[in-house]
Amino acid sequence: MSLTNTTIIAAGLTLLGGAAIAQTPVLTVYTYDSFASDWGPGPAVELAFEEICACDLQFTATGDGAALLSRLRLEGARSEADVVLGLDTNLTTAAVEAGLMAEHGLTAEGLTLPVDWNDPHFLPFDWGYFAFVHRADMEDVPGNFEELAASDASIVIQDPRSSTPGLGLLLWVQNAYGDEAATVWEGLADNVVTVTPGWSEAYGLFLDGEADMVLSYTTSPAYHLIAEEDDSYATASFSEGHYMQIEVGGVLHTADNPELAQQFLDFMVSPAFQAIIPETNWMYPAALSADELPAGFDTLTQPEEALIYPAEEAAAIRDAALDTWQNALSQ
């Protein structure tokens, strides 16, 4: 009898266990629009992670990186997000100060960023250098901001109040020139054709021939080269060095299943994820050596110096840099 009972109980437990497994855990990842779109890394990342996690990975897309942070702050403690993917280092301090982030507890190995990484809340997944893209047949390509200001080359830039590349350019000039940033901006004022709300508008204007150069990334020509087989775009190499944008992911305090979220973060810096980045997000992967990059990436401008502010410093100087920019360009 007792044997039978044990068998029945065991069978019952197996069934319960089966039911629990059938209820696949859901991992909700908040990210920006172009990451989750059909042409971004999202679909491939979802496939690759679901193969190893026995979970259902769901993306929620919200505009750009800044919109992502606003959305998380709006939702606060009631957010369904487990992981945030796609803030850059200019936004991370605000996310931590808002009490949104949990520490990831991981030591990322094999990072290939040109700078050191030791942020307890975030791990990087890709990065890029801001740069001015121009047509390959442009004559007298300026070699730094002063040459650009002195030239009559026309540029389109993004507004730092509504876009992350615009903010990046602001910090680039600030980092390279410090107290003289205002003078540089005053010199650039007559080169700026216009300022757009976001990257898409600026890049579109440039492609339509409205300006000689546009603020984008050193990796932009890789898209034209690889996806369109068009080698007529290049980026100007600036002697001050190029400011970096590092895009990061982190686990949120609101994560229902912190282990699963941590597993995703681990996956984020693994080769399976990293290999997807170059030809979908058109940025450098954060943990993949240069010889593993697709053909075509070797043709890109390699800056001599990588400029970046630590996250707290970027947050601290933003408002003053914005005033400088506004004053110089409003005249």
């Binding site: 606003s70 009631r78 054709v193 508008e201 890049y203 360009l329």
Partner: protein
């Protein structure tokens, strides 16, 4: 007419309920943002500069749009030519285009590498520069001239042909016509049209920034954007939202002060006819107005079409799905907009002295979509996942945005129907829905079709709040287009823009046509 207490009819009741709903849908979200922010924050000096620039560019844009629209509307009212219907529908397209598409079209003509500058260079003349305040105003005139023209044209066509016949028999000169017809109808139509366009321009953001040329072209909407996105200062965003509403109320008061109803009396709804005082000069002026306005509005559209038409056939499946979603959304949003607008228009027209009510409908145009979207998010978030409601919320906001246009078109027509048919209906003892159905509604068909067409097209082209709530598999066509642009797929994005333009125009044409069945115009 004797004034006495009358029972509230079901028609009026519905009108009041709809007004209440609109007020709730506008002030609820604003209040929610404010509640969450725990009060207003201080404004920065830059915010005041934004307010000043917003007012300046909106006033210039509204004035110029209306001025340019007068000769165009007059030509369309006086002339009959083949393709007139198509001309009217086609020239409406800019108004419903997503901003980025409209700007690209304008730049193809007026930009540094555009046709005009290429031509000027060809004859050795200097370059024209589109960036700056002039560029902003140019773009706003491009976007709003069609609306101004249609609103003024509505007023022109509302003159009964019996009156024109009378003028003919009295041997009216062109000068008499101006005094007795044109001036009164313009006085009735212009303030409202100018106000609507002024309000549209106050919430402008991308146009003003791209063509404004830099930080001096900051609008209130951009300040809200910055407060919300980068500073997460909800208190400042809400305060700027309130300032926008205040501007709207101010503009409403000004327009209301200057508007006087045109009294042309009743007619038998006969087809329109040629006006007296026609001359060679008048014919020439009309032709010139039509050709110039047509070129100004259609060339940029042609440029956009030329760039994107080749990519339409090869668009990815997701773009077609997004297109279908947008069509359904536009239909739902139009149905909602009409159900809100019709009772309100009937209520406003029903009795004198309720002009103030129209401001309620106008409010929705001046409230920042970002503030409404954020507020709605805050309201629904504790109850349901906003992502699940992203399409309904987008539909609701689109309906609110379309409401003022519907009211602008419906109210004067309803008022006139009341004035001309109301007394007869009263004498026959017709009340409530029967009265509306037989005496009033048949006279609203044309503006209703026009307004519904605008609402549908507007909803098709709107990016608005969907970007705030979007989830995988819920993209609308404009959002899809932006994502294509953002993924470097410029060709596909241009193809999507052409598809969007075609669908918006198609929707507008269908509704507008529906409203004009049996009419000789």
């Amino acid at each position: 007419m004797a004034k006495r207490a009358q029972p509230v009819t079901p028609v009026q009741m519905t009108g009041w309920i709809m007004i209440l709903l609109v007020v709730l849908a506008i002030f609820g979200p604003l209040g929610a943002v404010l509640y969450r922010a725990e009060g207003f924050s201080d404004l920065r000096p830059a915010d005041w500069a934004a307010v000043r620039f917003t007012l300046l560019q909106a006033a210039l844009s509204a004035a110029l749009s209306c001025l340019v629209a007068i000769p165009v509307a007059r030509a369309l009212a006086r002339r009959r030519f083949r393709g007139r219907g198509a001309y009217i529908s086609l020239m409406g397209a800019p108004f419903i285009l997503p901003v980025i598409v409209a700007v690209m079209g304008l730049l193809a003509i007026f930009g540094r590498a555009g046709w005009l500058n290429t031509a000027l260079e060809g004859i050795g003349a200097g370059q024209i520069e589109i960036y700056g305040l002039a560029g902003v105003v140019l773009a706003h005139v491009f976007l709003n001239l069609p609306l101004a023209t249609r609103l003024i044209l509505q007023a022109w066509l509302a003159v009964p042909s019996e009156r024109i016949r009378l003028a003919h028999s009295l041997n009216f000169t062109a000068r008499d016509m101006r005094r007795h017809f044109v001036w009164p109808l313009l006085r009735a139509a212009l303030p409202g049209a100018a106000m609507v366009i002024f309000l549209i321009c106050t919430t402008s953001f991308a146009v003003a920034l791209i063509l404004g040329g830099g930080p001096s072209a900051t609008t209130i909407e951009l300040a809200i954007y910055q407060a919300f996105r980068f500073d997460f200062d909800l208190g400042r965003a809400a305060l700027l939202g309130v300032i926008q509403v205040a501007i709207c109320v101010g503009a409403g008061l000004v327009a209301w002060r200057f508007a006087t109803a045109a009294e042309f009396g009743g007619g038998l709804d006969r087809p329109a006819m040629a006006w007296p005082g026609d001359s060679k000069g008048a014919r020439f002026a009309d032709r010139a107005a039509l050709i110039l306005a047509g070129a100004f509005l259609l060339l940029p559209l042609a440029a956009v079409t030329g760039e994107g038409i080749g990519a339409v056939a090869g668009l990815p499946l997701s773009t077609w799905e997004a297109a279908l979603r947008s069509i359904l959304l536009a239909l739902a949003s139009t149905a909602l907009a009409v159900s809100l607008a019709l009772p309100i228009a009937l209520l406003i027209a029903g009795k004198s002295g309720r002009a103030g009510l129209e401001a309620v409908g106008l409010l929705s145009i001046a409230v920042s979509p970002l503030v409404i979207g954020t507020g709605l998010f805050l309201i629904v978030f504790p109850v349901v996942n906003p992502v699940a409601l992203s399409l309904p919320i987008t539909g609701l906001v689109n309906a609110l945005v379309a409401l003022p246009f519907l009211l602008r078109a419906l109210v004067p027509a309803a008022r006139q129907a009341e004035a001309t048919q109301g007394r007869l209906a009263d004498a026959l003892g017709m009340q409530g829905f029967a009265r509306s159905r037989h005496a009033i509604l048949p006279r609203l068909r044309r503006p209703l079709g026009f307004g519904a067409g605008l609402a549908a097209a507007f909803s098709m082209g709107d990016l608005g709040v969907i970007a705030l709530f979007s989830a995988q598999g819920q993209e609308t066509l404009p959002l899809e287009m932006y994502r294509l642009f953002g993924s470097y797929r410029t060709n596909d994005a241009q193809g999507a823009a052409v598809l969007l333009m075609a669908l918006s125009l198609g929707m507008f044409w269908l509704f507008d046509r529906g409203g004009r069945v049996n009419a000789a115009t």
